[in-house]
């Protein structure tokens, strides 16, 4: 029985990791005041690039690096359009998602059905031998470890460093930040690219760990769920982690219910994560004070400084 629970928990963690990565990256971007709806596009581009990179080099780690780079470069296009050319952020994000889905479908066309190069679990010496906990926490792929370190790192950065304070202030009031001499655009560019890199890594996890293969549209809306997770977590990394794991649990729960032959049609079970996202959004939006105090006040607003 323990074995079964353990196995399920491990699957939940694998399912939650890409959501956590993408959401944490987007959280940083949004904290600086930029709403990047292109997460789904960056993720799927990361997935296909990581897959091809791994095929080409023979190493999943090189593949992951390719995925990170692809996400970052792709987000650069978004940053240029919305930050330098002050284009509508909602529309630009959508265009990148459509572009990303199309590009990845095209590039990956020849790789559908190719067996993937899997990133194996790495046991942390010593810690991995602890009964139960060892298997649960310390026998994972590298990307999982990165995701946890990322949450800790982003939290420390945002709330305990001067640079993080500056980033938060830019998201709160970019006019004041500019008046105080802060490099608003430079910080936002970096924040967006960080978000892109994280989304790219999230995609890499999908094609190298979750199901080591490439299929068209394999992100299946996870980028959008990641966006919802940022709202759900009130733009705080630890809460986003909780949200990601809850969602991982819902997805795996639905999947397992199908496997156990539960009488509910598979399509309804598959729609659970999406319905859950809506429910969660409604619940979290009810608390107006929470929303007001935590939403970066300048989120999505264009910035054109006087010169």
């Amino acid at each position: 029985m323990t074995h079964l629970i353990l196995a399920t928990l491990l699957t939940v963690m694998t399912a939650a990791t890409p959501l956590l990565l993408a959401a944490t990256g987007e959280l940083v971007a949004e904290r600086s005041g930029v709403l990047n709806l292109g997460v789904e596009g960056m993720m799927v581009v990361g997935a296909v690039t990581a897959f091809i990179g791994a095929q080409w080099s023979g190493s999943p780690y090189v593949g992951a690096l390719f995925g990170i780079a692809a996400g970052a470069v792709f987000s650069l296009a978004f940053a240029f359009l919305t930050l330098t050319l002050v284009a509508n952020q909602v529309a630009t994000g959508l265009s990148l998602t459509i572009l990303g889905l199309g590009l990845s479908g095209m590039i990956g066309n020849g790789y559908v059905g190719t067996p993937g190069i899997e990133m194996n679990a790495v046991a942390i010496p010593g810690l991995a031998d602890i009964p139960v906990i060892g298997t649960l926490l310390f026998r994972h792929d590298v990307i999982f470890y990165v995701s946890i370190l990322l949450v800790v790192g982003v939290h420390w950065f945002l709330f305990h460093t001067r640079a993080g304070l500056q980033l938060r202030s830019i998201g709160d009031n970019h006019v004041s930040a500019h008046a105080l001499g802060m490099p608003v655009l430079r910080v936002r560019y970096l924040a967006v690219m960080f978000g892109g890199a994280c989304a790219g890594l999230a995609g890499a996890q999908l094609s190298l760990v979750y199901t080591p293969q490439w299929t068209e549209n394999m992100t299946a809306g996870r980028g959008w769920i990641a966006l919802a997770l940022v709202v759900f977590g009130s733009w705080r990394p630890v809460r986003v982690l909780i949200g990601a794991y809850l969602f991982g649990a819902v997805s795996i729960g639905a999947f397992n219910a199908q496997a156990f032959g539960v009488a509910i049609p598979s399509q309804f079970l598959s729609s659970l994560p999406y319905l859950a996202t809506v429910v969660v959004l409604v619940l979290i939006s009810q608390n107006r004070r929470l929303t007001l105090m935590n939403t970066p006040a300048c989120l999505g607003r264009p910035f054109v400084p006087d010169r």
Binding site: V86, L99, L103, G105, S270, T277, L281, V282
Partner: protein, 360 residues
């Protein structure tokens, strides 16, 4: 060196007209580069994609078929986006309308009457409107972001359709294929110029575009939509209600998306399948922006994007590329349109960085 932008005193008339064309040219160039990178001759590929598909009456009919849902949905979206209601779930409303309208031919195939088609169309609009009502209620009453809620519902609608077509709506005589019965003649939207494929949905699209244009430009309702989108506070000062506008915008665009759905299923496909749209609801967003949220320009933009669908199918056959290339062109087009639109409101210049100050 620094790229500076400076707001213009008034939007540039020149660029309002020029911007979509510049965007088109840039898209063609980028597309050509992409074709070359994939090892195909860029000029032949562009020709195969954009020109070849238009070389016959049959092809023009196909263009109308592809453009009809795009124009119908985009006209509805133009009202939504102008009032700053971001309806990203039109794809879901398309499916909901298609399903609602298909209830009649699929569940009561025996009933023949000239009333069947009109009822189907009305049901289609009602289905789309009701599905659009959900994100509207969530936004108006529960302060929930409509982009995410309407989008999540797209996945739900797609899964629901998949279940219906593989389950209760599957054609018992269909050799176990996941598809419904072929619609009886009474339930099929007739063609405009028989035997061409273009069905009456095209006419509805044009009527919807012209009527919406008139309302937006010439009536108080259009004024209300514009003002509420520009500034909610000014709208309140004028006595307009942004809450009521949320409902209006979503019901209107949902109804048009639903109409597009039932017209597509009844006119073009003539049965229900697990996938009834190559992403019309999303491409329509691009059409809306390319047409700068103006219903008449949307007709032209719809034709342009309809062409990208035809081009994708043609390219698959003649050059051997995945039909995903349509999505790439569509994404590129929106991307460049958004970039070029900056020139309308802002002037761009390269500035030399100022030297650092000297202090005694």
């Amino acid at each position: 060196m620094r790229l500076d932008i400076e707001k213009r005193a008034a939007p540039s008339r020149l660029f309002t007209v020029l911007s979509p064309f510049i965007a088109l040219v840039l898209t063609l160039i980028a597309g050509g580069i992409m074709f070359a990178a994939l090892g195909k001759n860029p000029f032949y590929a562009l020709y195969a994609f954009f020109i070849q598909p238009l070389n016959s009456v049959w092809a023009l009919n196909q263009l109308a078929v592809k453009s009809t849902p795009l124009i119908l949905i985009a006209v509805g979206l133009s009202v939504c986006f102008r009032s700053k209601n971001w309806n990203i779930g039109a794809e879901g409303q398309f499916i909901a309308g298609a399903m609602m309208g298909s209830i009649l031919p699929i569940m009561m195939p025996g009933w023949t009457s000239p009333l069947v088609l009109p009822i189907m169309l009305v049901l289609g609009m009602v289905g789309g409107a009701l599905y659009g009502l959900v994100p509207a209620i969530l936004k108006a009453e529960f302060n929930t972001n409509e982009i995410l809620s309407s989008l999540m519902l797209v996945y739900v609608a797609q899964l629901f359709l998949d279940w219906a077509v593989r389950g209760p709506w599957r054609d018992p005589q269909g050799f176990n294929f996941p598809q419904s019965i072929t619609f009886p003649d009474d339930a099929i939207l007739p063609s405009v110029f028989p035997p061409g494929a273009a069905h009456w949905g095209a006419v509805f699209a044009v009527i919807a575009a012209v009527a919406t244009w008139f309302v937006m430009r010439r009536t108080l309702k259009g004024f209300e939509i514009n003002v509420l989108g520009e500034s909610e506070r000014a709208g309140r000062f004028a006595g307009f209600s942004s809450r009521r506008m949320i409902y209006f915008a979503f019901l209107f665009s949902g109804a048009l998306a639903g109409l597009a759905g039932i017209c597509e299923v009844s006119g073009a496909i003539q049965q229900m399948r697990p996938v009834i749209s190559p992403g019309y609801g999303f491409t329509a967003i691009i059409v809306a922006f390319l047409g700068r949220l103006d219903p008449l320009s949307i007709i032209v933009a719809g034709l342009v994007l309809g062409l990208t669908y035809l081009g994708g199918e043609a390219a698959q056959i003649s050059i051997g590329l995945s039909d995903k290339v349509s999505s790439v062109f569509q994404g590129l087009l929106l991307f460049f349109v958004l970039g070029c639109d900056t020139l309308i409101h802002y002037r761009i210049r390269l500035a030399v960085r100022r030297p650092q100050g000297e202090v005694s």
